[in-house]
Amino acid sequence: MLSGKGFKNVYNLSGGIRAWNNEIAVGPSDLGLHLFSGKESTEETIIVGFGLEQGLREFYLDMANRVVSAEAKSLFTKLADIEILHQEHLFKLYQDITGTTVSMEDFSTGTVQPAMEGGLSTKEYLNLYNPDLESEQDILSLALSIEAQALDLYQRAADNSPDDNSRKILQQIANEERAHMKRLAHYLDTI
């Protein structure tokens, strides 16, 4: 149908989703979209994104406190630290757009409500993937799954956003999640 309608490069994924041996996302197409009504300004979109990164950081830190092995603790802490990088980038965007002089800490505590990335709660993630939290491999697989879910949410929110600037920001955050997934997958291959 598409190729007959002027679409130049259409590919059929061999074997469909059953043959897809990579990360997947779950849930309906509106999962988590309550966080993005589609009416947000660019600034508000950044604030929601920042809150999602904060939520995931808190999740990883909570996990770091729960696990016993030093390796697992260290890995969860590293994952939490990566979220700071995402937050710094979002805060820089916020500063560029608003010209605010507020510190990132004040921005974080005063403006942002933490939420969990990808639209699922931490309990739902743990139930869904049932990881062995002491296993580095399982921890990385869990992180990869969460990032896949987050990428999926940001992409859907970008698709739904009628505002060009907000859509660009959401697309940019989705791209960062893609890059993050690539690094996690590489790390997973090395252990």
């Binding site: 007959g4 990579n22 997947i24 996302a25 896949a148 698709d159 697309q171």
Partner: protein
């Protein structure tokens, strides 16, 4: 009837090649299009893919860019 559409070849692509294609392009320059039913999408889908069930595709084509490579499943 547009007979052309029945004879326009569509390439097959493996999952690995699809990932490679996405990695080579700038983000947003390749689209994964899920044409299954919402129930199937809910169970699992490729992260970042766009859901347009096959039965709705002809009237929702304006949501897609014909110049962007599209991987359909």
């Amino acid at each position: 009837m547009k007979w052309k559409q029945f004879f326009t070849p569509v390439s097959n692509i493996t999952g690995d090649k699809a990932r490679q294609l996405v990695a080579e392009k700038d983000p947003g320059e390749v689209v994964y299009l899920d044409v299954r039913q919402p129930k199937e999408y809910k169970i699992s889908h490729i992260p970042g893919s766009k859901l347009i069930p096959i039965g709705e595709l002809d009237r929702r084509l304006d949501e897609l860019d014909p110049d962007v490579p599209t991987i359909v499943y």
